[in-house]
């Protein structure tokens, strides 16, 4: 269980301020749904969580320790695209995380260790409903199957934090609901903290234990460069099946467009 603390984080690209003064205290095991208009810096925030980019100011702490300045196995990720490796089958994609840690030089396992890794990967694939497609390449899988594969690939490392950047944007509603169930089950089982960026408010409220919106407060054209987006709404969602009050929903709908 990991507590995430975001302290006064700013992100500036050149003379463009993207995010300003983000302060968050995230309870261990939270499922954070991150919403906000396009271009407000949600992906930028996730990249800072990943360690792919450094904050321009402020810092991000995991259990009180400043996080690694580069991506590491304690933070898993699923992007909207390019999350899985096209030259590996589903099974090989999932086994990869096990092979990296167990075989520093060859990055491959053999014999009994390979069989063990394979069994573990197969379990994980079955868990996300891909038990029948383990030998297929990503280009042979549908969009929903590819995203489930990406989730399985990330979760085999048992990350403390899972970062999802619009992972289900391209999926149809039926498949999406299916993947939601899988994700919720895994999240409960593994006890990790999830950050999920989404444009879909019902998805945010269905999955999230807390919904956070980023938006710009100052929107006059001459202020656009100097001021970035910050946290404009931060709602705990308790009793997950209860839909949020209509007025909150309206305000958020404006934020998420």
């Amino acid at each position: 269980m990991t507590r995430v603390t975001v302290e006064n984080v700013w992100k500036v690209y050149g003379d463009q301020t993207v995010l300003e003064n983000i302060n968050l205290e995230i309870e261990p095991g939270s499922f954070i749904a991150l919403v906000g208009p396009s271009g407000c810096g949600k992906s930028t925030f996730l990249r800072m969580m990943l360690g792919d980019e450094a904050p321009s100011r402020g810092r991000i702490l995991l259990d009180g320790e400043e996080l690694d300045a580069e991506p590491s196995p304690d933070r898993g990720v699923v992007f909207q695209k390019y999350s899985v490796f096209p030259h590996l089958t589903a099974l090989q994609n999932v086994m990869l995380g096990l092979e990296f840690v167990a075989s520093p030089v060859m990055a491959r396992l053999f014999g009994s260790r390979k069989r063990a890794a394979k069994a573990e990967a197969l379990d994980m694939l079955t868990c996300v409903g891909l038990g029948h497609a383990v030998h297929k390449y990503p280009s042979e899988l549908s969009g929903g199957m590819q995203q489930r594969l990406a989730i399985a690939q990330a979760l085999i490392k048992k990350p403390k934090i899972l970062l999802l950047d619009e992972p289900f944007g391209a999926l149809d509603p039926g498949i999406r609901a299916e993947v939601h169930e899988i994700l919720l089950r895994l999240w409960r089982d593994e006890g990790m903290t999830v950050f999920m960026v989404t444009h879909d408010l019902s998805e945010a409220f269905k999955l999230g234990t807390r919904v956070i919106a980023f938006d710009r407060v100052r929107t006059r054209p001459e202020e656009m460069k100097a001021y970035g987006a910050t946290v404009t709404f931060d709602l705990k969602v308790d009793g997950k099946s209860v839909p949020p009050r209509p007025e909150i929903r309206d305000v958020l709908a404006v934020a998420a467009q």
């Binding site: 196995p73 990296f100 690939q153």
Partner: protein
């Protein structure tokens, strides 16, 4: 009437159209050759079929009177081994430098400008230097082929490596991969088919450098033979040699493409 861009030839027509330019060239040659030979039966410029056939038999199927070897076979073996070694060395160097340059910022900072400048040096201008350093033997020719195409392969592969989605590299790191493991499991397997593409594109240049080197200093090889025969205006030998080189180049290209299809099935599955 449908637009021209929307009209597709069917299989038979397509095959016929494909043959058309070849047949047209052959017919044009036959007419021109006939016309010249009817004026002067000893004309050497456009020999008739029978003369060409006799030359082919002499070069390919009868042992040379002086040395007792089959000249076409000997020339082919010499040229292909020089080409093969040169291209293999360039591929190895290109693969290693290209991937490191495309993936590792410190390596790129060190070598990017350098390989960029190297690739601007016309290889044939360096040929005299190679002959001075390595002598007139095999080594200079192999080095010319390798030096001639390696910069292209390096730069091509570096660009391809940079095109690997950033997300994949990030993802690998979140799975715990080190730089070495990323190279071994993510970059190299995806870049091998691209490397083959690069080699295929540079084969034309490789032949050019090989034939130039053989023309200048050699005692065997397809390029050597063509330039030797030029002194005697022996078009009956030169033309079949050119056709043979073309066939070899075409076959090499085809073989590489087939190998790529069979060895890297993931690229072609499902899409």
């Amino acid at each position: 009437m449908r637009r021209l861009i929307n009209r597709q030839p069917d299989v038979v027509v397509r095959f016929g159209l494909m043959l058309l330019p070849f047949v047209a060239v052959i017919i044009a040659y036959m007419i021109a050759s006939e016309a010249r030979l009817s004026v002067n039966p000893n004309d050497k410029l456009l020999p008739g079929w029978s003369t060409i056939a006799a030359a082919i038999e002499r070069m390919a199927f009868l042992p040379d009177q002086r040395t007792g070897s089959y000249l076409l076979l000997q020339d082919t073996i010499s040229s292909l081994s020089r080409l093969g070694i040169g291209v293999a060395v360039a591929t190895l160097i290109g693969g290693i430098f290209g991937i490191l340059q495309g993936l590792i910022p410190y390596f790129r900072a060190t070598f990017n400008a350098f390989t960029g400048v190297l690739s601007m040096i016309p290889p044939l201008a360096v040929l005299p230097i190679l002959f001075i350093i390595f002598g007139l033997g095999e080594l200079a020719k192999v080095v010319l082929v390798a030096v001639g195409i390696a910069p292209f392969i390096i730069r091509d592969l570096a660009l391809r490596t940079e095109e690997i989605p950033h997300e994949e590299i990030i993802k690998a790191q979140t799975l715990g991969a080190s730089t070495w493991q990323i190279i071994l499991r993510i970059v190299v397997p995806q870049m091998l088919p691209r490397l083959i593409d690069g080699v295929r594109l540079s084969l034309g240049a490789a032949w050019l450098f090989l034939i130039a080197a053989e023309a200048i200093a050699s005692d065997s090889g397809l390029g050597y033979r063509i330039f030797l025969m030029r002194r005697y205006l022996a078009m009956d030998v030169i033309l079949p040699y050119v056709a043979w080189i073309t066939l070899l180049a075409f076959t090499l290209d085809l073989a590489l493409r087939l190998f790529q299809r069979i060895a890297f099935r993931w690229m072609y599955r499902g899409n």
